[in-house]
Symmetry: C2
Subunit: 321 residues, 2 copies
């Protein structure tokens, strides 16, 4: 029987020592902040049957658990430094722990983000990661910083994760290869860390948010906090490669209010357009201009020709859905 301490030692303690002065194995971890930098902190909890299906592949789950947290750092423009992992498991199964830790550390290593502590316990499967990043004072991309006249941008593509979910739920039927391709976006999202850090460090963007509950809902937080409104071009929203082959109404619905995208929506002065496109190219993350921040409250839509459009969409809420 694998004990709690053996479990931690075998699957989560690693020989390499990173930024942490003191990592796993004491009452607290100790981090030494870089002089003059602020610490950005985000915490996400993933629950079986809610954020992922029961029986989800452990390696993908390890990736996604950290990815959704790194995505929050990306949306703030903060460089990842470290994270803690609290894990409730129904049982200590070696195959699951091996897969989970492999997926987790592959992504952590790619971002130089060190596991410095946490907790393990028996219980219904629940994964809670708290991530720490660094950002220079005044550089963080806040939800409240959008200004009328700003362009609205989105990274990467939208909607393939929602399309995959629709397939799994039987809302529609996709060919097997299309389902698999869309599923990759749902199971192993790519946090846009390099882009977010460039936007912040180069002072290119005003506000940003990561798109986890759907573009409309998440952009809505920027509008609310910035006391502003927006017009979006429904046909400019970049659909994922699988969604792009689907009918127009589905494309519009799932790009606008899909969820689980983990792209960044950000606003920026029109004067920065070239520099933003260059930053996207430099880090290999496409960026697309999708609309404009306006002083008038509310969200308005147009089609590709600028004609007004009515879209009925809603975002995801954990307690009313």
């Amino acid at each position: 029987m694998l004990s709690e301490f053996d479990l931690i030692k075998q699957y989560f303690v690693r020989p390499t020592s990173g930024r942490a002065t003191l990592g796993i194995g004491d009452d607290c971890a100790l981090l030494t902040p870089s002089p003059g930098m602020q610490t950005a902190i985000s915490s996400d909890m993933l629950v079986e049957g809610r954020h992922f299906f029961a029986g989800e592949d452990a390696q993908r789950l390890g990736h996604k658990s950290l990815a959704v947290n790194l995505s929050d750092l990306a949306a703030m423009g903060a460089r990842p430094v470290a994270f803690t992992l609290a894990l409730a498991l129904p049982a200590a199964e070696r195959a699951w722990l091996e897969g989970f830790s492999r997926g987790l550390f592959a992504l952590a290593d790619a971002h130089g983000c060190e596991l410095i502590g946490g907790d393990t316990t028996k219980g219904p499967l629940n994964i809670c990661i708290t991530v720490f990043g660094e950002v220079a004072p005044g550089r963080a991309l806040r939800r409240s910083a959008a200004r009328p006249g700003d362009d609205i941008w989105v990274s990467g593509t939208l909607g393939d994760a929602r399309l995959a979910l629709a397939g799994y739920l039987g809302e529609l039927t996709l060919p097997a290869d299309a389902q698999a391709a869309a599923g990759t976006r749902m199971h192993t999202p790519t946090p846009r860390v390099a882009l977010g850090v460039m936007l912040a460090e180069r002072g290119l963007a005003h506000a940003a948010i990561d798109i986890s509950d759907g573009l409309v809902g998440d952009l809505g937080h920027i509008l609310e906090k910035s006391h502003a409104g927006a017009t979006l071009n429904a046909d400019a929203l970049p659909a994922g490669p699988v969604l792009a082959t689907q009918p127009l109404a589905l494309r519009r619905a799932f790009t606008a209010a899909g969820g689980d995208d983990y792209e960044i929506c950000f606003t920026a002065p029109a004067a920065n357009r070239e520099a933003i496109l260059a930053a996207g190219a430099e880090c290999g993350t496409p960026v697309t201009r999708i609309g404009r921040i306006e002083a008038k409250a509310g969200l308005r839509w147009t089609d590709a020709d600028g004609a007004p459009l009515t879209l009925e969409l809603s975002s995801f809420d954990h307690f009313t859905n």
Copy 2:
């Protein structure tokens, strides 16, 4: 129906602004570290049916969820600064949320520890708090720092929480008032923050750990990390006021390997005895000398007269219990 955002706004966002540059309501919280200080970080996950009974009083649970984390800061000698809260709830019930947030914030306010962010989701009841404190470089009380010849100390009293559990589980029967008194220790532990901070800032102690899984198991971590052994005086272990009225064998068993005590066990040079007693008096936390660190590996016991004693005890493990 209470939405996720209303829930956060009504029960967890507070008007007062504290240390955080940016608190709840963005992708990340932003903390500005005090210049030259290290950040101490600890994360604990509490699962219904595992760390507390189903149907546990929400206010007590709010207190305990933060208390166990503050206890980790105390054992490091770090001053509390802020925390994040990730919460999975079966449903968004107003009465529960009111009670939980009341218990949580009463303790948070008492320690100047600010809620800066987190997550809420639907799911089996699970509370994950990550706490942040500050400690000067070189001052943290590490598990690895015990030295042969050190006195071993414990704060407060031990065993009443375990005695309460025994009563709840029907392992024994206590008078109702005794059960209630012991239950208070189990449900609303007192983190020894002021004592831990004094020990660290005044350089009085070498190693420390908080006692959550039982003295023997937790002291064992100090011995392992410090490559040392110890002799403990079984009759010096300070029993809680309810346990103190119980038979000797039970007193020894529950003080030595009870669990859920959230006292601090620490080691210190004999030269600091007077200063340690003075620090305990100053912060209103009794401290008791219970044994000595030795170069020889292993844990040995004596009785009050110094005669060798054999105690068969075990500590708690989440995956083998």
